[in-house]
């Protein structure tokens, strides 16, 4: 594909008075899904605003389709990028159809009334997003998941090659998170759009992304998802959170998932040194070796009670 470096950040300093991100270099192509991660306040939203040219770069340049955004008018940028914020003012009297139709706003000088083709396009997008039954429902009566889908629908209607989403899955349950993420990936692959979105729930989101932009310590690290994750250990440590200093884990021979569950329940209940214990999972039964005796438990509840008797 000739669409290399559709969105390009070149040696950019991003921030307000002082740079939040220094010397950022990154690029994305059409058809790619990129996940933007980093702690709160690290500069993700500022980065997004800089790409939208709502905030000026302190140095360097950002270009879309090889055009420096400094030379693009607001309307031209809107034709390239459609944005979805995580929360917005919900207009009191708008229906789903009204909201999604707003995607066409930039294409009309006065926006009197949508043309027939545009009305049809809006109806199609509503159908694709499974919002047909809510077409004439007021926005304030929608569930969070459907509301978010409606806002994505508005961005879709804008017909721009790039869609940027700021925390699109934040107040959604797991099921809706997956629906949104699947939709985004489908948009990238089937309609050749460039999707950039930030998320705190990156462990789930990374399953749907091609690239990651990781903002840490005023730097922007970009690359393929798996490469970045391996390069930054703090991201990939398995969820063996060390909540308690006094806890020393026992030996555990079991598949990763069971190991994690056992570790978790022992750590929660015992702030002790359990290294003299040995746990092994045999056929769904836990065999616990302690000193020279063996004991068998089936459920975690039994294990906890057993370990309590020892200590």
């Amino acid at each position: 594909m000739l669409n290399t470096m559709y969105l390009q950040i070149k040696q950019a300093d991003i921030g307000y008075d002082k740079p939040l991100i220094s010397n950022a270099d990154a690029n994305l192509n059409l058809g790619e899904v990129c996940l933007l991660i980093g702690n709160n306040g690290v500069g993700k939203t500022t980065l997004i605003k800089s790409v939208l040219h709502q905030t000026h770069l302190l140095s360097g340049e950002i270009s879309i389709n090889h055009k420096n955004i400094k030379h693009l008018s607001v309307k031209e940028i809107a034709e390239y990028i459609a944005i979805v914020f995580s929360k917005s003012v919900i207009p009191q009297n708008h229906t789903v159809e009204d909201l999604i139709s707003l995607g066409k706003y930039i294409y009309y000088p006065y926006y009197f009334e949508l043309k027939k083709e545009d009305k049809q396009e809006v109806s199609e997008i509503i159908r694709e997003l499974n919002l047909d039954q809510y077409k004439h429902t007021l926005l304030r009566n929608l569930s969070d998941g459907n509301l978010q889908k409606a806002f994505i629908g508005r961005a879709l209607t804008q017909n721009s090659p790039i869609i940027i989403l700021d925390e699109p899955t934040t107040h959604l349950d797991e099921k809706n998170k997956i629906i949104i993420l699947k939709t985004l990936r489908k948009l990238a692959k089937q309609q050749n759009k460039l999707i950039l979105f930030s998320s705190h729930d990156w462990r789930l989101a990374k399953e749907f992304a091609d690239k990651i932009w990781y903002v840490k310590d005023q730097k922007l690290y970009s690359g393929m998802v798996e490469d970045i994750l391996l390069q930054h250990e703090e991201l990939v440590n398995p969820s063996l959170f060390e909540v308690n200093k006094n806890f020393v884990p026992p030996h555990i021979a079991a598949p990763d998932f069971y190991k994690e569950m056992l570790y978790s329940i022992l750590q929660k209940n015992f702030q002790k040194d359990l290294s003299s214990l040995h746990f092994e999972l045999q056929d769904k039964i836990w065999v616990i070796s302690h000193d020279s005796s063996e004991h068998q438990c089936e459920s975690f509840e039994e294990i906890v009670n057993f370990v309590r008797t020892i200590y």
Binding site: L52, Q54, A78
Partner: protein
């Protein structure tokens, strides 16, 4: 334009026409067609009635539009044309004029003009003040607070003036505040028409940015809406429209709040262009009807609009709470 909208407009136009004919026939004397057309005996009275109808039509265009713009801009269904303090300042200017011109002998026909002039002048000064301070009011709610303070300030001064005023001045002021001073001359109507045209043009420029503003400022920016321009257009449009009508007719209460509300009930409230059109049509109809009632019952216009408006707004509030 959807079919429903066209039908609504047609119905409203027919109603306005009927109300106009009734209005022209309402009054102490009964007139016939000749009086309106030629130099017949009662032509002068006919002219007064025509003026009355024209003024009501102009008021019906302006006041609801002003309220509509305020309600959309501040996303508040209870906002009215006076939210920026325009009507209060107009009242203050008129109060100043009435109470301080007591000793000056002005011919009758000039009195009316100076009254309107002072009202417009005062509102104009406020509008300039709002425009110059609009850059400082980045938060919309600050604008509302400023308007509220202005209204309170103006009200306090007017009370002070009333306290020290002569009886006749006091009565004159109170009568003016009842609204619908019916003696608007043809030349004054021309001035009013010009002001309404400018205000309507500014409204025209506001509608598309208002639509883009409906999702909040973050989205508005990304859609290319110039928020500063929107603020300016809204301030100028709303001020001109309400100030000019207030100057010639006195303050008109409640109409600016309830007409937009009714329009939202009868047609899709998200379609702002159509809402503006309906506001103007329904506004003309309502002013015409109120004027007929005022003429027949001799009750001042503001009393009628209050009697009608207060229960309407109350039901509005109660319905909102239920939802």
């Amino acid at each position: 334009m959807s079919k429903k909208f066209k039908i609504l407009c047609l119905l409203l136009l027919i109603a306005i026409l009927s109300a106009t004919v009734i209005n022209l026939n309402t009054g102490f004397l009964s007139l016939n067609l000749n009086d309106f057309l030629g130099e017949a005996a009662n032509s002068q009275i006919a002219e007064i009635r025509v003026n009355r109808v024209l003024v009501m039509l102009l008021a019906g265009i302006s006041i609801p539009t002003s309220g509509f713009l305020m309600q959309e801009y501040f996303q508040n269904p209870l906002a009215g044309p006076d939210i920026l303090g325009i009507t209060s300042i107009a009242s203050l200017s008129v109060a100043f004029y009435i109470f301080f011109s007591y000793n000056i002998d002005l011919p009758e026909f000039l009195q009316n003009s100076f009254l309107s002039l002072s009202s417009i002048a005062g509102s104009f000064v406020l509008m300039l003040l709002l425009l110059s301070m609009s850059k400082r009011f980045t938060d919309k709610s600050h604008l509302i607070i400023f308007g509220f303070l202005i209204s309170a300030f103006a009200g306090a001064i007017v009370s002070l003036l009333q306290f020290y005023a002569e009886n006749q001045s006091l009565k004159n002021y109170v009568l003016w505040s009842f609204g619908a001073n019916n003696m608007v001359s043809r030349s004054q109507i021309y001035v009013l028409t010009l002001l309404v045209l400018i205000g309507s043009f500014m409204s025209f420029k506001s509608i598309k940015p208002l639509i883009g503003n409906s999702l909040g400022t973050a989205y508005a920016q990304s859609l290319g809406v110039n928020l500063n321009h929107l603020k300016l257009f809204i301030i100028i449009a709303s001020s001109l429209l309400s100030a000019s009508v207030t100057a010639f007719l006195g303050p008109i209460l409640f109409v600016g709040i309830i007409v937009p509300h009714f329009c939202r009930l009868i047609y899709n409230p998200a379609k702002l262009w159509q809402q503006w059109g309906l506001n103007m049509l329904l506004g003309m109809l309502m002013m015409m009807l109120f004027s007929i009632i005022a003429e027949k019952t001799q009750i001042p216009l503001n009393v009628i609009s209050s009697l009608f408006g207060i229960p309407v707004i109350l039901t509005m509030l109660l319905k909102q709470n239920k939802v």
